[in-house]
Amino acid sequence: MAAHLKKRVYEEFTKVVQQQHEDLSTKKLRLTKPSKSAALHVDLCKATSPADALQYLLQFARKPVEVESVEGVVRILLEHYYKENDASVRLKIASLLGLLSKTAGFSPDCIMDDAINTLQNEKSHQVLAQLLDTLLVIGTKLPENPSVRMRLVEVACKHLTDSSHGVRNKCLQLIGCLGPVEKGVAKEAESQAAKDVQKIIGDHFNDQDPRVRTAAIKAMLQLHERGLKLQQAIYSQACKLLADDYEQVRSAAVQLIWVLSQLYPESIVPIPSSNEEIRLVDDAFGKICHMVSDGSWVVRVQAAKLLGSMQQVSSHFLEQTLDKKLMSDLRKKRTAHERAKELYSSGEFSSGRKWGDDAPKEEIDTGAVNLIESGACGAFVHGLEDEMYEVRIAAVEALCMLAQSSPSFAEKCLDFLVDMFNDEIEEVRLQSIHTMRKISNNITLREDQLDTVLAVLEDSSRDIREALHELLCCTNVSTKEGIHLALVELLKNLTKYPTDRESIWKCLKFLGRRHPTLVLPLVPELLSTHPFFDTPEPDMDDPAYIAVLVLIFNAAKSCPTMPALFSDHTFRHYAYLRDSLSHLVPPLRLPGRKLASSAVSPSITPHEDPSQQFLHQSLERVYNFQHLDPRGIQELLEFTIRDLQRLGELQSELAGMADFTATYLQCQLLLIKALQEKLWNVAAPLYLKQNALASTAAKQILEETYKMEFMYSGVESRQVVIIQHMRLQAKALQLIVTARTTRGVEPLFGMCEKFLQEVDSFQRCFISELPHMQGSFVDKLLDLMPRLVTSKPSEVVKILQTTLRQSTFLHLPLPDQLHRATANIIEPTGESDNPLRFTSGLVVALDVDATLEHVQDPQGTVKVQVLYPDGQAQLIHPKPADFRNPGPGRHRLITQVYLSHTAWTEPCQIEVRLLLAYNSNRSKASTRSPKSTWSESLEALPPSENGIEGTIPFSKPVKVYIMPKPARR
């Protein structure tokens, strides 16, 4: 085996080998397995009855077929096909043909003729349909061959007159998928009697079978997707299909109308039964609105969804969707919304409703009332009141999209969205809150609306409350009463659900920042200051008081007159909060104080460039250190690392970048230290010390490289090479250290081999990057590879040692965006002195709440670790549903960790922390999947060889005080 490996490594250094390798494998396959086709042939000949044959075919279908033997198999199948009388067997063969032509690497044009031939003599409709399906597969496999496609389309057209719906269905599907898209091809086609595809498909809009009608519309949509510009003439046809009896047809027709409305938004269509004309997009909008009250909910969902994306529609049509004329006993009635608005504008508060408060007023003309409205009237009113929550969600989404593009519409739909906050299904409520947040730039909430919004703060669902906090962060409130109301409600929320603390503070921060002038008149009341009397100093640890302060301080930032209203203790509290909750409390210019705090100015933008420059300069300096003496290099590295770390602390934007490079330099520093000549030259008895230093260095470098590779988001393959290269060096170092400390050669053999294997795989992965690595460790190593392969371990070690020392330090290119994954455990806080008591042997649930930033795929990678005082560690995989995604790059983990232990005599602390699991195998496969050679070779190797799994702790551990009590008897 070893010899074989060496040979392979050696051979693969030249490029020819890979092909040989492939050849070898196929040869092997031919030798070991008897040909598939032969086996099948024998089986089919043996089959006495159709049922038997079917069984054989079924068995055959379960196994994959190699590329080379596909054609042979196809021939045998076809041969059998002609002989077979039983339709079911023929059907299976036809489907097998389709499956086989899907085989990767097989070009099906050779079997196309046969497939078309079989089509001509076939009687069974089912088999025909299946054959057409096979042709479709063949056609899609040959996208570069227009003449083949033409031929297939022709065949399909011929079978369009078949009496079975299945056959017609498949024909249309085939035409839709393969029909010519470019005009040029179409012209050429005319001569071949294949007419305009659109016309052919259009003719089948009136087919007697609903399935065929659906297929026709779908084929049309397929053509559109493939880039064919549909003709406007189809529009009227499609409109007729909206009244079809079958829901699939209607659903597809709605889609088609939508497509057409996007294609020809501005063209004019006449309104039937009148002389007026309107824009097509408006007409289509009206029609789709009409479908929102369709009988089938599938169509309703479809229609409601599509409404959202029709942004060119004119505004009066849009506003009609929210309008539903109310009447009662033939008299016009105002909606509750209008009444609320009126009450509000007249400056009066709803004094409780009297009976008949909503009594209708004006008489209306019976003729003018149009009960079934032609246009878009009330589409959303219906959609939002729908029975199925799917429709309601779709309607809310559509509202959101339309409101984002039209501020006036946003203003109008506000009432309806606010109403949706009381939906019976939580998903709908959540969706409408999110929608509201998205459009909140366009709107200002009235007090009565705010009131309704705030009422939802008491919802028992955490998601709803947090979504609402987010919403409040970016809403505009019109009056100071509104702010007050919001504050009061938020404080109420805080007392009811203390866990919402963080999110409420954050919400108030933005609320204060947005409305400084509205907060100003409220300050005395909020701080309960009095012109003459000193009021007692509030408790600084009270979350409610902190909440109020957060609101005020943030407002004070842009309102310089406010601090004058503060009392002494407020200033003291400011200083305290500025330190303890610096992310919530902005720096203020306070009159009595030196502007010490403003040294770290919040306006980062002017400073950004210099610091970036600084980063690059210091790196530049490091990379040019070759001509320095080793001591100088070490010092320089140490300084630079220190600088970078400090820079990361100061500039949050550059933190990721700075940390990343600092880590890299740290690795280099460790490497240099470990390789210092002096250490290696000492006498044998002192090996121990040197050994400890070098091996810890190697270990640390390995750890750091994993961190670099997996903890940062935005790492590109250029960086991965460098990181892996560093890791390789560390491994070399490890090898050297073990070689020097262990007696005997036997264990070394294995290690050397493993190392060479790694070098080999490194080379294979990054073959394209190698030219950039002139003079590096790997570069040199690869030069020496032929020698290494053949030499003894001790020699290998020697070579490694010299190359390590001679190799140059690689320049680490920086990507544009680099973020370090961070996690912060909010809950448990670790401050509690009361131990969590539970009976030993039973479990206790510990709520864990953490925010994660810049973690890719947290569901797969983030784990919770619990460390017990006895050293026992427990790893918990949170459920995917426990992760929420409040914003880009941010995640929130809210989960429960189950703890259990045997009885303790006294309470003790356990540690909870978050880990980032990585698997080198997986990440490579995902990042480098385009390189097919690599992924193929990966499959060939057992995964454990390359897949290094491990975890990186990436949050501060939190201590939890627990006490398992002995069970009582």
Binding site: T161, S163, N206, Q208, D245, S293, G295, K324, K325, L326, M327, S328, D329, L330, K333, T335, A336, H337, G352, R353, K354, W355, G356, T366, V369, L371, I372, G378, V381, L384, E385, D386, E387, M388, Y389, F416, D419, M420, N422, D423, E424, I425, T452, A455, E458, D459, S460, S461, K496
Partner: protein, 591 residues
């Protein structure tokens, strides 16, 4: 009943010789004979069972089923009565309650007894939604979901190809416990629709719900008590669900009570018939049945005096008697408390008085009760509004519409609208009036497969759905119709076949010889009729398919040739075409 009127729903439909009675309700407004429909209308003498094929009850409200025991037991009907499962379960409870009130409280005699209710219920056949029930060989009925109350259904009655849809009461907007009515495009000949809210378009339900919840919530937070007088079934459950979910959502702790008795029994049925409720309840019942209330407990008289906030649902709904009135008297004095009237109140009841703003009420025993508590009115109704009715008509696409269960004036408006929008005729008969609707019945005819295949093969095969002309002979024998090929018909009837030939002479001016003329005609026809086989026979005649053309010289004028065209009647089409062609003459220039 129910013609231009609300209450006492009872509609008689005769369809294709079958008689069906739709609903059998009582009228709330009367206490004499008028409270029940006049069944003598159906038949003067003879038994009802002989005359009626079946009775269908749409839902359990008394104005739709109140007269059922009277009708079946006292007047006498033994045929089948159809209703849905929930209706069958709840209906007897309500009937028994109704009986108790009239007999025990008002002391009426000559009323149906409990035993009669039981006997009546034995005649009931329960149906499922969308289940097609064959009443007899020809008559079939099918139930559709109608919303309104638990178990309410719309019925399609079908005989042959004629059909009627009766809606009963229905609701097109879903509420907290029931879904919206739905019907497929069944295209009935007649749609009988209720029209309670013929002239109303309602506001969104959410506003009302929100107001209701907000009011309750505020009062409870203040520490006040809320009294909600309700009738036992229908709205009460909706409000319960509403409050229950709200309590759950908002984590409220104040107790909610429900007066016991009737309601508890009804709630039990609501729990059972989950499939009849709306999407939310159906989806979540696996975790928890929404009708198993967590926060709502049974009420005890003593609780009314408990301190602290609470919400109480109490019967009856109009505050005219019973528990709700008792509680009202206890709580009326405190301005922190609130009473919410969720429905309409009849004049003269306490409910009506306080809603109209009266603050001092005179109670029994000359007592004056001062009402300090807040009085609120919330309307929750489960009938379709004008828009809903139109929507249903659009869904079902009927050929005629008939409006019942509403006021004449309002119906007039809706009728006009329906005729205008859908171009279908609309009727609104008064009680006792009969409306006759002409239908276009189609008669199914058996056809032999061979003939069908042969006939469809002729002519363009596209649009097979459209009506198509076929040739064949219609055999009417033993009350069955069959379409067979002429040969078979002759064979079956034992008749000999007669050949029928049409002959026609066409004069053509042609001076040439006969055979030349024939040749010219031949060439001409050959040129025109490319798709047919035109042959020139040796005996000097031409055949086009089976049509024979012979030419002879005119006896008097040699220049005129007479063409004899002869065809059998099967080839009538081609033959007449040929004649008209020849009549036009031959083309002049024939080389």
């Amino acid at each position: 009943g129910a013609g231009q009127d609300v209450g006492r729903s009872c509609i008689l439909v005769s369809i294709a010789g079958k008689n069906v009675m739709l609903d059998c309700g009582m009228h709330m407004g009367y206490n004499d004979d008028r409270r029940f429909p006049d069944f003598s209308y159906i038949t003067q003498n003879g038994r009802l069972t002989d005359f009626l094929d079946c009775v269908i009850i749409s839902h359990f409200h008394l104005d739709h089923c109140g007269a059922l025991p009277y009708f079946s037991e006292m007047v006498g009907y033994d045929g089948p009565i159809y209703m849905t499962h929930p209706t069958k379960a709840i209906c007897p409870i309500l009937l028994e309650d109704y009986r108790k009130i009239t007999v025990d409280k008002k002391g009426e005699t000559n009323f149906f007894t409990s035993q009669m209710i039981k006997d009546c219920m034995k005649k009931v056949v329960a149906v499922h939604l969308h289940q097609t029930v064959q009443v007899d060989e020809e008559l079939e009925i099918k139930a559709y979901y109608a919303g309104h109350v638990l178990g309410a259904a719309m019925f399609q009655i079908k005989v042959g190809c004629e059909s009627v849809v009766y809606t009963g009461d229905y609701n097109m907007t879903p509420d907290r416990h029931l879904g919206a009515a739905w019907i497929d495009k069944c295209r009935p000949d007649l749609l009988i629709s209720e029209s309670t809210y013929a002239t109303t378009i309602r506001d969104s339900k959410r506003c009302r719900e929100r107001d209701f919840l907000k009011k309750v919530h505020e009062t409870v937070e203040r520490g006040g008590k809320v009294l909600i007088p309700v009738f036992a079934l229908g709205r009460a459950q909706e409000l319960c669900i509403l409050l229950e979910t709200f309590w759950e959502r908002m984590n409220l702790k104040a107790p909610i009570y429900f007066s016991t008795g009737l309601t508890e029994k009804a709630n039990h049925y609501y729990k059972l018939f989950i499939t009849w409720t709306n999407q939310k309840i159906r989806k979540t019942f696996v975790q928890r049945n929404m009708f198993e209330f967590k926060h709502i407990k049974a009420f005890d008289r003593a609780f009314a005096d408990n301190p602290g906030p609470m919400v109480v649902f109490a019967t009856p709904g109009m505050l005219h008697a019973g528990q709700s009135l008792q509680i009202f008297r206890k709580w009326a004095g405190n301005e922190k408390n609130m009473v919410i009237m969720p429905g309409y109140c009849v004049q003269g009841t306490v409910g009506h008085k306080i809603l109209s703003g009266q603050r001092k009420l005179e109670m029994e025993g000359r007592q004056i009760l001062e009402v300090k508590m807040q009085v609120e009115y919330m309307s929750f109704s489960a009938h379709a509004d004008a828009k809903g009715i139109m929507q249903l008509i659009r869904q079902a696409e009927p050929r005629n519409v008939l409006l019942v269960h509403g006021e004449a004036k309002k119906m007039e408006f809706l009728k006009q609208k329906i005729e205008q929008e859908f171009h279908v005729s609309c009727f609104m008969p008064a009680n006792g009036e009969t409306t006759t609707i002409l239908t276009n019945p189609c008669i199914p005819v058996d056809i032999s497969l061979g003939l069908l295949k042969r006939e469809t093969a002729i002519g363009p095969s596209a649009d097979a759905k459209k009506p198509k002309l076929m040739h064949g002979s219609l055999l009417m024998k033993d009350n069955s119709f069959r379409l067979v090929s002429p040969e078979q018909a002759l064979k079956e009837l034992g008749l000999a076949e007669h050949q029928l030939r049409f002959t026609c002479r066409v004069h053509i001016q042609d001076p040439r010889k006969e055979h030349e003329t024939v040749l010219r005609v031949y060439n001409h026809l050959k040129g025109i009729l490319k798709d047919y086989s035109v042959q020139h026979l040796p005996d000097g005649s031409i055949t086009v398919e089976s049509i024979l053309i012979q030419a002879t010289a005119h006896s008097e004028d040699q220049g005129t040739k007479v063409l004899l065209v002869s065809w059998t009647y099967q080839d009538e089409e081609l033959g007449s075409y040929l004649t008209s062609l020849l009549k036009k003459g031959l083309p002049q220039s024939t080389p």
